[in-house]
């Protein structure tokens, strides 16, 4: 897929109760977004933060009805915090789209579960819509520490049949980890996961035990995002591969996770 180096303008921003910002971007030249697949990401240069010389990888969350690019940003450090606070009209440079994205072929008629932990909820938003449009039966499972971490998120999953929730403190949904949610006792054809590594490993173990097809989206540290520096590798059954180029989405059978 062709990659583009483009300037984007912040058009709008909504801060969710959990602290993540849902930021809408328009191309600075007014043109349409380049084509992308769910699960692909952008490398964004956050201006005005000397500590962030390198670009930051952020998943493509969705495209809005008015054609804007939606990103969900968690203030994890200096650069991402700055990005969540940048006013409308600010211009940032992005490389878009990067990575392989989720394979959504043959989804029609399947029952699928999309499980997101924390900001891992982001790439699943566009995935949900694409799968629902392809006539899959989509259910969502979101995890957070507390109710506010997932508040405001369910409405983004358009086309989903149901949104299940698990919180560490039990303030909403299942009390406990995502991996302990009762919905996991039900039968799914495919499970897609993005979240903290322990959660993804837990979900992968469950899927493997049941013989369910499972894809995870990894968030390794990246420098270039282009497959040029080999800084982002993950050990796979085929050796070390770049998460930015051959991932970030992997079938769990490709990984060496136990």
């Amino acid at each position: 897929m062709k990659e583009y180096l483009l300037d984007f303008k912040i058009a709008d921003r909504t801060v969710l109760p959990g602290g993540c910002a849902m930021i809408e971007f328009e191309r600075a030249d007014g043109e349409k977004l380049p084509p992308f697949r769910p699960g692909q990401f952008v490398e964004i240069k956050i201006p005005g933060v000397p500590a962030a010389m390198l670009r930051r990888p952020i998943s493509i969350c969705d495209v809005t009805d008015s054609g804007r690019l939606l990103l969900m940003v968690k203030p994890a450090g200096e650069a991402t915090r700055h990005l969540t606070l940048m006013p409308a009209g600010s211009v940032v440079s992005m490389i878009i789209p990067l990575g392989n994205g989720f394979d959504t072929a043959g989804a029609a008629g399947k029952r699928v579960l999309l499980a997101g932990g924390g900001v891992g909820a982001a790439p699943l938003i566009n995935l949900c819509r694409v799968l629902a449009d392809a006539d899959a039966q989509v259910e969502i499972l979101l995890g957070g520490r507390s109710a506010r971490d997932v508040q405001g998120l369910p409405e983004y999953y358009r086309g989903s049949e149901q949104v299940h929730v698990a919180t560490d403190d039990g303030t909403v949904g299942h009390h406990g980890l995502v991996t302990g949610h009762p919905v996991l006792n039900e039968r799914f054809d495919t499970i897609y996961v993005c979240g903290p590594t322990p959660m993804m490993k837990g979900m992968a173990a469950i899927a493997r035990n049941r013989g369910t097809e499972c894809f995870v989206s990894l968030e390794n540290m990246m420098a270039c995002g282009l497959g040029a520096c080999l800084c982002c590798v993950e050990k796979t059954v085929k050796g070390n591969v770049c998460v930015c180029k051959h991932g970030p989405v992997f079938n769990i059978n490709e990984l060496t996770w136990q």
Binding site: M53, R55, N220, M221, C224, C229, L230, G239
Partner: protein, 303 residues
């Protein structure tokens, strides 16, 4: 005014302009083909190539540090045979020079890689990375002693028929004497600097930031050290010097040229701006125009 940006590194290595890309930061060139016309470059230096395939180090392999980054990729590559079969064919289409960066764990390894590359017509030069640990010398890098550096260079002089560029490590007490030893042993040019040995600690997690604990620092943070070393080396040797370390724009490149470099390489900053190379080339031309210089070679070594 017509401005000449072409430079001659000797022994058959002529560049249409002084801007090369640094090994390990530009993949095999094709990774950047969506962003720039690769034919605009003076040339590109591909990933470090070894005799056997290498898996490299464990993750995490990088951490960002003030105005730079520390990496510990560990020479992951598919090996020289894989390069010849799968990478080389697509590189022959470019009018820019393609230089292969060569690494090895023994002198014999280096020489064997060069022998395998020798029949490839498009490859007019190899760049030898002598910062690799020498297995025989207890893992101490070849590039840290005059004897080690000269030994590798001499072996490659025999094994490689065309331009031989030797890339120097900055992790030494006196880089100019290493450069002198390499020149004596038959190098056609020297490039510097490779990464500076560095370390960063993740205090929250109470462990080293990268898997190997120490790694190589690159980016603008190293530039003043690199410019100083290029200046020292250019005064010592009479072969051409290729300068690199933290270049982000034409002015940075000109610092190296004025300190004595014939050509420059751009590495880490390709990650920040994939178009930095062509912007630098345009900037060099613009500088010459503004200063009434008709040939970039006239700016070399003026300091």
């Amino acid at each position: 005014m017509a401005i000449n940006l072409a430079v001659d590194l000797g022994a058959g290595l002529k560049l249409k302009n002084p801007v090369l890309t640094a090994s390990g930061t530009f993949g095999y060139g094709t990774e950047f083909a969506d962003f720039i016309d690769l034919n605009r470059l003076g040339g590109f230096i591909v990933k470090g190539t070894t005799l056997e395939p290498r898996q490299g180090n464990d993750s995490p392999r990088m951490v960002e540090t003030p105005s730079g980054m520390i990496n510990a990729v560990g020479l992951q590559n598919g090996g020289v045979d894989h390069f010849i079969e799968h990478k080389y064919p697509s590189l022959t289409q470019y009018t820019s020079e393609v230089i292969v960066n060569v690494s090895g764990a023994s002198v014999a390894d280096y020489a064997k890689v060069a022998e395998k590359l020798a029949p490839l017509d498009k490859i007019h030069a190899i760049e030898v990375n002598i910062s690799c640990p020498n297995v025989k010398a207890g893992g101490m890098a070849f590039g840290t002693t005059c004897e080690g550096a000269a030994e590798v260079t001499a072996a490659l002089r025999k094994a490689w028929p065309r331009h031989l560029m030797v890339k120097l490590s900055p992790n030494v007490t006196d880089i100019a004497s290493i450069a002198g030893a390499v020149e004596q042993a038959g190098a056609d040019s020297v490039s510097l600097i490779n990464t500076l040995l560095a370390m960063s600690v993740d205090v929250e997690r109470q462990r080293a930031s990268i898997s190997t604990v120490t790694g190589g620092l690159s980016g603008p943070a190293v530039r003043p050290v690199a410019v100083r070393m290029v200046w020292q080396v250019a005064r010592r040797v009479s072969i051409p010097v290729v300068g690199l370390g933290g270049i982000t724009c034409a002015d940075d490149a000109l610092q190296f040229i004025m300190a004595g470099a014939t050509a420059v390489q751009i590495g880490t900053y390709n990650f920040v701006d994939p178009q930095v190379t062509v912007k630098t080339i345009d900037g060099l031309e613009d500088y010459c125009r503004r200063h009434g210089v008709d040939d970039i070679n006239k700016l070399r070594g003026i300091i």
